[in-house]
Amino acid sequence: MKNKLDISKTLFTIGMLVLSIFFLVPLIWMMSAAFKFEKDVMVFPIQWIPKDWNLVENFKAVWMGDIPFYKFYFNSIKLAAIQTLSTLIFSSMAAFAFSKLQFKGRDFVFALVLSFMIIPEQATLVPRFILIKWLGLYNTHEGLILMGLFSIYFTFLMRQYMLGISNEYIEAAKLDGAGYFKIYWSIILPLCKPILATAGIIKFIWIWNDYQGPLIFLLNKDLYPITLGLQLFKDDYADNFAVLMMASMSAVIPLVVVFIILQKQVIKGIALGGVKG
């Protein structure tokens, strides 16, 4: 019986392996194209392993061309890092107040804050665009950053997490004479490391992959993050797929590597929203 079960499991595993490779074919094709000469990219049948390698030239075209890719990289890292850090701070501060401090109107304000989550981001693009223009922040990183300084969603998730932390820690700290800021910084935040890590990774990925925000709020090519940079490559290299695939690969690889290293955290973060519903 046991043996029989293993055979079916093996067969399923083999079937799924084939399916998963088939599923990943677009990305495998991307990598193979990034290594080729342009004339070989669209040859059929596909040369999965290139006969002639053009990796160095493609790499140069992407990373050292007219609009070097490292600039987009730098911009993406800057935007994502600042917004992730500030979201962790501001959202955890609000979550601390919503979960561990007692004051009049707290739960009402919490419900009010949550209700803003139903507004689709795209529905307020127009007024936010005008606001950012009035503030003189159009076509600056500061304008984009301003809009991503906090997140209601992560405030909610962090509050849920903090509710699970025993109040005894806080009472004990109060007896030792600790103030609220100290309690927040040296007791609550360290206990929240798992949720902070999860939220931080997810927010970073969101910003890294954001296209709509930069498209609307940035004009100057020097300020472009990777997503808009890819747009430039698509327009400039419309007939050079090898270079375009090298650019795409350059955008995808770091995130995939980070994901494989931190997969447990990422998957937990993605699933959090799902389980809670």
Partner: protein, 314 residues
């Protein structure tokens, strides 16, 4: 004697002061201080834009003309909305997009998740493999598919011609197939998310249920329909609503690959907002379209809350 009076008065005044700054008040003040950054942010970036966009939706304003060019337009924008063929087309496309991406995505995801959960070795490899497209930038994904879908040179059509199909579809380049091409890419890129959600709720179903069922002689198919599917009910509702709302917000792939075309064949609501607001600078009309989106998403959300409550109670 004097000493005693002084000593007595100190605690009295101390108590008096303390009556105002009670621990409760202090905690309240600190609470608001902790909330301050986020509340300012919400006022500035959520509440003000919401009110402002309502005002704008009743006015006609081309941003190029400056503030003095703004004037009241009554319901003109909303009347225009229902006569605008592009908006109607966008709604229709959004509807088609939803009908295809949501059920097909969920159906494929639930099958794959059940197989990954119970039927294979190396399940963590499969989790990663199916999740990679989701984690990758949708723009990079779009660039790859734009090459794969290339009408004459792309590998997909070369393959189709190779197996004897004479006029393979033009995919993104034809009004007939542009939307379906976007749908294919969306399902492919999003399925990893749905698998992860299903897997996390599959892992919370107790193993004993299945053991008891197989002792009673239930087949695996019966187990799936009688145990797995009912217990996944809340997850199905959650995913359905999340994907439904998400499908009305679709923008990135369309802006990047087709610009709503060719011939508006792949335009959607958010792309219409983008066109009117950020290409034509008709801020009033763009705001009216935005409210259409807000109302659609709002209604779905409210219905879903009711639905979820019912699911929790039953």
């Amino acid at each position: 004697m004097e000493n005693k009076v002084i000593k007595a008065s100190v605690p009295v005044s101390y108590v008096h002061k303390k009556a105002f700054w009670t621990n409760g008040r202090k905690e309240g003040l600190i609470g608001w201080l902790f909330l301050l950054p986020e509340i300012i942010g919400i006022l500035l970036l959520y509440l003000f834009p919401l009110v402002f966009s309502l005002v704008l939706s009743f006015s006609e304003w081309n941003l190029v003309g400056g503030l003095q060019a703004i004037h009241f337009a009554g319901f003109d924008n909303f009347i225009k909305l229902f006569e605008d063929e592009k908006v109607i087309l966008a709604l229709k496309n959004n509807f088609i997009f939803t009908i295809f991406t949501v059920p097909i995505g969920m159906f494929l995801a639930i099958i794959l998740a059940v197989i990954i959960h119970t039927k294979v070795y190396m399940s963590s490899y499969f989790k990663i493999a199916f999740f990679i497209p989701y984690i990758s930038s949708i723009i990079a994904i779009g660039a790859v598919w734009s090459a794969l879908f290339h009408p004459s040179l792309g590998p997909i059509n070369q393959f189709l011609t190779g197996v004897g199909i004479e006029n393979p579809p033009m995919w993104l380049a034809s009004p007939k197939t542009s939307l379906i091409s976007i749908i294919i890419i969306t399902i492919w890129a999003g399925i990893g998310y749905q698998i992860i959600i299903y897997l996390s709720s599959l892992s919370s179903i107790p193993e004993e249920l299945y053991e008891a069922a197989s002792i009673d002689g239930a087949s695996q198919l019966q187990q799936f329909f009688k145990i797995t599917l009912p217990l996944l009910g809340p997850t199905n509702v959650f995913l359905f609503i999340t994907l439904l709302i998400g499908s009305f917000k679709v923008f990135d792939l369309i802006a990047f690959l087709t610009q709503g075309g060719p011939n508006n064949s792949s335009t959607v609501i958010v792309f219409r907002i983008y066109e009117e607001g950020f290409q034509q600078f008709n801020m009033g009309y763009a705001s009216a379209i935005s409210w259409l989106l807000f109302i659609i998403v709002g209604v779905i959300t409210l219905i879903s809350w009711k639905l979820q409550k019912r699911f929790v109670h039953s």
